[in-house]
């Protein structure tokens, strides 16, 4: 297939995107049904052309068409087929195309599932998404065309960056972009509400499943990235507060805040303006991340190769999209604060505290990430801001949130129920004390370790108590609606994550050693025996492969084969060997020969490291579970006026009082 066809497809997609952002919005404004009806058609058309372009690029990789410059730079004849396909998004241009394809997929999903939304509102939403797509497509064809030719075509390609030759690359970017771009839906709903001057906040309920789904994807995307760094960068770390990691973490924090703000707006009609603002911010931070990664503005491991024009274009785009939205917000957001009033010790207050801490944490990350720029801009010297800044501050900011976390679900909407709180507090504290004693008996020493166990138990006990309370009080069939199940999964995931993060940090043993064949080293209760290095051959690399036998109390646990690969392009990449376990990972990396037949090796024992990602996966499942809730099923073409009249199941009064 001809790569120029891909270019043509992109140009057609731009035209359709331009129409998609103009026609449906005019239609909604004028009340013209035929114009509004173009929304779905245009969105589908755009999807088809972008998918076509994506397929053509993939085909170029598949067929080793090195006359396409992008393929020549990022592929190689010897590259395994799955990396050839994932190399499509291995660098700037192709990853933008993936970004676009995902945006179009979300739009398509909305077309498929949102047909019962009021037509004018739906048209505005599709129009806003069309505008987002238009900017990105224009960016792609003017500065980052993946279909440029390289003539004469080289015989072989330069090969994909070896760091990216990992299953992580196959999953991490698509999942992450699903999250980033997924926030465009909540964004489009908010802008459509502002454009249409929606008086009621019914739109928030329509928007909630999309926000939860996007946040779930973003969570698992970050988890995949973290695991990738752990496996592939070989430092055994899972989070580095690198600017690009921060760029993905900021929308995650805002997304988490938005999920809760939306719940309040949906159910209590409160925080209407705040929900609008967070909807804009979640997507704004996604765009900001894209800008930071692709403008070369910040020094980072992950930064793409940059050209000045690209940075300027995204900045202008960011300014137009976010600036325009915030201006619209300033002019049209509700002028009155509304919603039901509530008692101080109610669920609303807990959620507001959570929102506050998440938002401030996001501001803290933003400040630290951008501060080096401030130093440069004001000419006061170069400044580094790194883990010692972010880590402790984040811990401090999350403390009130973690403390409040069990009491959000255990509280009631609007009303205070101090009796329930008191009872829950006593039980949670008791469980924390028991967990602390058990941990101490198992050998946990040091305040940091005990703190980790306590905090994790605090959160998990809160969820368990809530589950028991619901089980005892709620009638059959209404015990755990999906929305609540999602909350429980995600909150429990936070507890698991806390345990993993803090215990890994406080209990890990890492050691660089030099060993000759036959040598051994003790790491905790494990013995690592080194049985030398042999040569092996991979598809597109040569490797030196070490053999390390790990024993515990004389019994063999596992044999690991860490590699040091030299790829066809001459790049050297270490491939750690890891034995994963629920309670600990054993990790070996092979370094260099250091004379006399000795090699340098890095050996780790990393307890509880899997819990970090396990917690993340639970949070993701939580986000996805919420989507399934009946509450969000659109029954018929609801008009804004009638949408709130959804009948609630009538429950006994005793239940409403929330007796424990």
């Amino acid at each position: 297939m001809n790569p120029e066809l891909g270019q043509v497809a992109l140009i057609l997609a731009v035209v359709l995107a331009a129409l998609q952002c103009v026609l449906p919005i005019i239609g909604a404004w004028r009340g013209s049904k035929p114009l509004m009806a173009t929304a779905s058609t245009l969105a589908i058309g755009q999807f088809v052309f972008v998918a076509l372009a994506f397929g053509i690029l993939m085909w170029a990789f598949w067929t080793n068409d090195f006359s396409v410059a992008y393929v020549a730079q990022n592929s190689n004849l010897a590259l395994p087929w799955f990396y050839k396909l994932s190399a499509v998004w291995g660098a700037h241009e192709g990853s933008l195309l993936l970004w676009m394809l995902i945006l179009n997929s979300w739009t398509l999903a909305l077309v498929a599932l949102g047909g019962k939304l009021p037509q004018a509102f739906f048209s505005r939403v599709i129009g806003v998404l069309g505008f987002v797509a238009f900017g990105f497509l224009l960016y792609m064809i003017t500065t980052s065309n993946p279909f440029l030719r390289l003539l004469p075509a080289p015989v072989n390609g330069a090969d994909l960056n070896p760091v990216l030759q990992d299953p992580g690359l196959v999953f991490h970017p698509p999942l992450l972009y699903m999250g980033y771009v997924g926030f465009s839906v909540a964004f489009a709903f908010a802008i459509a509400a502002l454009l249409g001057g929606e008086l009621k906040s019914t739109w928030v309920r329509w928007s909630r499943p999309w926000t939860n789904a996007a946040w779930g994807f973003l969570t698992v995307g970050i988890v995949a990235g973290s695991a990738w760094a752990y496996y592939e960068l070989g430092w055994g770390g899972w989070w580095f507060w690198d600017p690009v990691e921060n760029a993905s973490f900021m929308p995650w924090l805002i997304g988490a805040a938005l999920i809760h703000a939306q719940a309040i707006t949906d159910k209590r009609d409160g925080l209407r303006a705040w929900t609008l603002l967070l909807s804009i911010f979640a997507f704004a931070f996604s765009l900001l991340g894209t800008f930071l990664v692709r403008s070369g503005l910040l020094t980072s491991v992950h930064a793409f190769a940059f050209a000045p024009s690209r940075g300027i274009f995204i900045l202008v785009y960011l300014a137009v999209v976010v600036g325009g939205s915030l201006l619209l917000y300033a002019l049209r957001a509700p002028k009155v604060s509304g919603g039901k009033t509530f008692a101080l010790a109610s669920r609303e207050t807990m959620m507001v505290i959570g929102n506050l801490m998440l938002t401030v944490a996001c501001a803290m990350v933003l400040l630290g990430t951008l501060y080096p720029l401030v130093g440069e801009a004001l000419n006061i010297g170069r400044i580094s801001v790194g883990p010692p800044y972010f880590g402790p501050l984040f811990l401090i900011l999350m403390t009130p949130l973690v403390l409040a976390l069990p009491f959000g679900p255990l509280s009631r909407w609007g009303k205070a129920d101090l009796k329930v709180w008191r009872r829950a507090l006593i039980r949670i504290v008791a469980l924390v004390v028991i967990a602390g004693i058990v941990a101490f008996a198992l050998g946990a020493r040091g305040w940091y370790q005990l703190l980790g166990v306590s905090a994790a138990t605090w959160v998990m006990a809160g969820v368990v108590l809530f589950a028991i309370k619901r089980w005892r009080e709620a009638p059959r069939g209404h015990k755990y609606p999906f929305e609540m199940l999602g909350m429980m999964l995600a909150h429990f995931g936070i507890g698991v994550f806390i345990a993993g993060a803090i215990l890994t940090r406080s209990m890990s043993v890492e050691q660089d050693v030099s060993m000759r064949s036959g040598g051994n080293v003790a790491v905790g209760s494990y013995d690592f025996h080194f049985n030398g290095v042999t040569e092996t051959q991979g598809p597109n690399y040569q490797a030196q492969q070490g053999t390390v036998v790990i024993t515990r109390n004389g019994r063999q646990v596992v044999t690991l084969h860490p590699q040091k690969r030299t790829y066809s392009g001459g790049q050297v990449q270490t491939e750690a060997a890891i034995q994963a376990g629920v309670f600990r990972d054993l990790y070996v990396s092979l370094g260099d020969p250091i004379g006399d037949g000795a090699w340098s090796l890095r050996v780790y024992n990393k307890p509880f490291v899997r819990w970090i990602w396990g917690g993340g996966v639970l949070m993701m499942l939580g986000g996805f579970a919420v989507v399934l809730d009946k509450r969000f099923r659109l029954k018929r073409a609801v008009e804004p006026e009638t949408a709130r009249a959804e009948p609630k199941p009538e429950l006994p009064r005793k239940l409403a009082e929330g007796e424990a």
């Binding site: 410059a69 730079q73 440029l148 330069a158 960056n161 070896p162 760091v163 409160g270 020094t299 491991v301 793409f304 190769a305 940059f306 050209a307 604060s337 919603g339 009033t341 509530f342 008692a343 109610s346 507001v352 506050l356 938002t359 401030v360 501001a363 803290m364 400040l367 630290g368 501060y371 401030v374 130093g375 010297g381 170069r382 400044i383 580094s384 801001v385 790194g386 883990p387 010692p388 800044y389 009631r412 909407w413 609007g414 205070a416 609606p481 660089d512 050693v513 030099s514 790049q571 050297v572 990396s589 250091i594 340098s600 890095r602 609630k648 199941p649 429950l651 009064r653 409403a656 009082e657």
Partner: protein, 144 residues
């Protein structure tokens, strides 16, 4: 376009140096010293591979500084003294933990200031929106 390509390839070449990370066995006297060394060098920035810590970087420069830091530890120098020694030569850019100075006031006090502003907004909101529990009407239905 040529220039663009050259730039892209250059950036590519630069990232390559990142890939191999440091495995650098040093003869520590005991685990406490090893932990202290890892903790210290993790909080220092490599001047050559600027996106890596001194602990992680495989650059020759990082290796040499690790040796220097190791030697200073054997001489009984404190973390503070070692950091001062490095800052005198390479400026505070080498610290991932920027010290409090006029240039970093906004960095260190920014977050507390934002948090304070947030707390004030929330207090105002709660004062406006909350009512004593007794005045709030009971609502039927599942409290979820």
């Amino acid at each position: 376009m040529k220039r663009l390509l050259a730039l892209a390839l250059l950036a590519f070449a630069l990232t390559l140096s990142v890939n191999a990370f440091a495995i650098d066995p040093l003869p520590f006297q005991n685990t406490a010293q090893r932990d202290r060394f890892q903790h210290l060098t993790r909080e220092l920035r490599c001047m050559v591979c600027q996106d890596e810590s001194l602990l992680a970087s495989n650059a020759d420069f990082a290796k040499q500084l690790r040796r220097q830091i190791f030697d200073m530890m054997q001489q009984g120098k404190s973390d503070r003294e070692i950091k001062d020694w490095l800052v005198a030569r390479y400026s505070t850019f080498i610290l991932y933990d920027p010290p409090l100075a006029p240039a970093t006031l906004a960095l260190w006090f920014g977050t507390p200031a934002i948090a304070l502003a947030g707390v004030i907004v929330v207090i105002v909101l709660l004062r406006r929106r909350t009512r004593p529990a007794s005045t709030i009407a009971e609502e039927p239905g599942d409290d979820w």
